[in-house]
Symmetry: C2
Subunit: 387 residues, 2 copies
């Protein structure tokens, strides 16, 4: 593994923990462009066994990154799957070799629109090619090859991470021993595209976005990105969770103020979500990654047939949804399961009862943990990893 010195103008990755792989051979993207060289930033946990048979690829969601089980280098917060990962954990670092890479188009070290276009010496901004979930997975494939892994024991992820899991199973069926798409779908719905479009319009409406050239101009569309995050954040929670957490409780006051301050706790919470997000995320990356999700439609690559897309699969699937997830509702997972059944795939399907909405995949959900633990143990036995 090679660590590459890479100095973008705007975001200093210097001092951030983790590996950088410079991929020299260009990648043929869905848009037709041959892209590269490019960098993949990734983390690993645990050790690869002698047979190279215990590797699990963890795929992150829209605003996630490779720091699944490390403190985030900007916020200092624990890794987003810290609760799952560790010695003896559900993703047991004493048994498995875990890999988590920042997606192509991301902003945590893997090449994205905030990085310098070598042809111009300026940040790519909107000249960065529009990438797809399949492109993200193509880049990950290069990483896996570099690490000497022919077949992943498991590919796992929630939300956009789950889309990548499905894409892996469809694109590289021989490389995926087991697959766990959580709170995901085989295609992005009209409502989800609509919410993404609101977020993009909020960013683009910010005069500090400057047609995407804000880095070159020393500006930052913080207000637009914050509004985008606020709108999206509502969709990650359930109505019931919002009601339970906040209801109509007031924020540090006994009565409404008859003004536009954050009278209600839920307003204060949302504003906080918006304002902290802009410290760690790049606005153009947000545009590119939401677009990749919108474009995701696994069946479309196979003339509209989802079971055709999955016909070559040999993976063992564990499809997981959450009752209160209205962004990727259970019905979407069920469609996926139907398609997997139609190709006689090995699939189990668990709908977990929770009030935590879409974000449940990031939270302490005992039933999720038990489901994953059991599924991985069973697959491990078949893989010769023991229980």
């Amino acid at each position: 593994m090679s660590t590459i010195a890479f100095r973008p103008r705007s975001r200093s990755y210097q001092g951030w923990p983790g590996y950088r792989l410079l991929v020299r051979d260009p990648l043929r993207l869905d848009c037709g462009i041959d892209f590269g060289p490019f960098t993949i930033a990734f983390q690993t946990y645990g050790a690869l066994n002698a047979e190279h048979s215990n590797a699990i690829l963890i795929c992150h969601a829209l605003t996630g990154d490779q720091y699944a089980a490390d403190p985030h280098p900007i916020t200092g917060k624990p890794g987003w799957w810290q609760t799952l990962i560790g010695p003896g954990g559900v993703l047991d670092t004493e048994r498995y070799f875990l890999i988590c890479a920042n997606v192509l188009g991301g902003c945590m070290g893997t090449t994205g629109p905030q990085d310098l276009n070598p042809a111009t010496g300026e940040p790519w901004a909107l000249s960065f090619p529009v990438i797809t979930v399949r492109d993200m997975v193509r880049a990950q494939k290069r990483l896996i090859e570099h690490l000497g892994i022919d077949s992943l024991f498991c590919v796992i992820g929630g939300s956009m991470g789950g889309m990548q899991v499905l894409q892996w199973a469809a694109s590289y069926p021989e490389c995926v021993f087991s697959a766990v798409p959580i709170a995901a779908a085989a295609r992005h719905s009209a409502q989800n595209i609509a919410f993404h479009e609101v977020g993009r319009q909020a960013i683009m409406a910010d005069p500090d976005w400057c047609g995407g050239r804000y880095l070159t101009l020393g500006r930052k569309p913080a207000r637009g990105l914050s509004v985008a995050r606020m709108a999206a954040h509502i969709t990650y929670l359930s109505e019931a969770a919002l009601h339970r957490k906040f209801g109509r409780n007031l924020q540090d006051r006994h009565a409404v103020t008859y003004g536009f301050d954050a009278d209600f706790q839920v307003e204060s919470y949302l504003r906080h979500q918006g304002s902290t997000f802009v410290d760690r995320f790049d606005a153009n990356s947000y545009l590119y990654i939401t677009r990749a999700m919108d474009y995701f439609d696994l069946a479309a690559e196979h003339e509209g047939s989802l079971h055709q897309a999955l016909s070559g699969t040999r993976s063992r699937f564990c499809v997981i949804s959450f009752t209160s997830d209205w962004l990727f509702p259970t019905a979407e997972s069920r469609q996926l399961v139907h398609a997997l059944n139609a190709v006689a795939a090995n699939v189990s399907f668990v709908e977990i009862a929770t009030e935590n909405g879409h974000d449940a995949f990031l939270l302490h959900e005992p039933e999720l943990f038990e489901t994953l633990r059991g599924f991985l143990a069973g697959c491990g036995e078949h893989r010769g990893l023991g229980r």
Copy 2:
């Protein structure tokens, strides 16, 4: 009825059809301010009978106005309840005298933040007092008194209009013979407050908002208001309706463009909703009216007891909800019905099966029409209006 010449700096109401009532006696608002004189802009349809017993007050929603059955003076589109109103219609102009007034804080002729503050000669902007749904209803009460109506045959409205209906029943029980709250709730939920806050932040993030002083400065926060409208509009539809209408259909193209144009029809539709809205609506009005909805909590006025709030009611209620409305779900209407039952009110409750989401109250919904027709006929008999 007096028509008042009133010339705000920014929005010309000249030539707009309808009545203007100048209310000279100030109104004591919930925030404690005595507000006035102020203007109420309203429309009427049909004729008041000799007994003054056939008046129906129609209450409009957040972005509605008094033009319930006239072409909109800005957009030229038919009135928002045109399908219900007319000779022989559900709201039969041959039987009833219909009144629809623009709410206090609105932007279609009733005094709102875009009008001139007589004390300064400048538009009120954020010096306009924060108003509540109860304040809107207080203003309407003045109008009803002016029209010589002691008791309304019916108060009817959807969404925020339904909130006004409930406030009427609670504040002036002796004046409301029957009440029809549609797709409404006795209080605004945390999720709904959250969506409103996103809209307000989008407006306030627009540099052209200028701390609310955009009219004085000759500017307009069109981009922020457009984003607010886009986000809100998604909540008015159901996921099923979005899927049926748009799915993942592309807009005038055969393949995705790998860019940020509106590739999908749903994006194009949303952008259109946003951009046309800014032509007809004032951004500060949007802030004030969303705030009024957020503050709405009928029980809070009565120490948290909803049935206490409604204990004085003598009205016949018809509570209506829609199965696919996730903004004001049926559970909210059910809570209201429980409270009405607890005070032995005369209440019928209809949940209408539709895919049209919250916006169903504005659409051609045969079951809604039949329900209203039957309810009004029954009430009319009790009121001595005949069937």
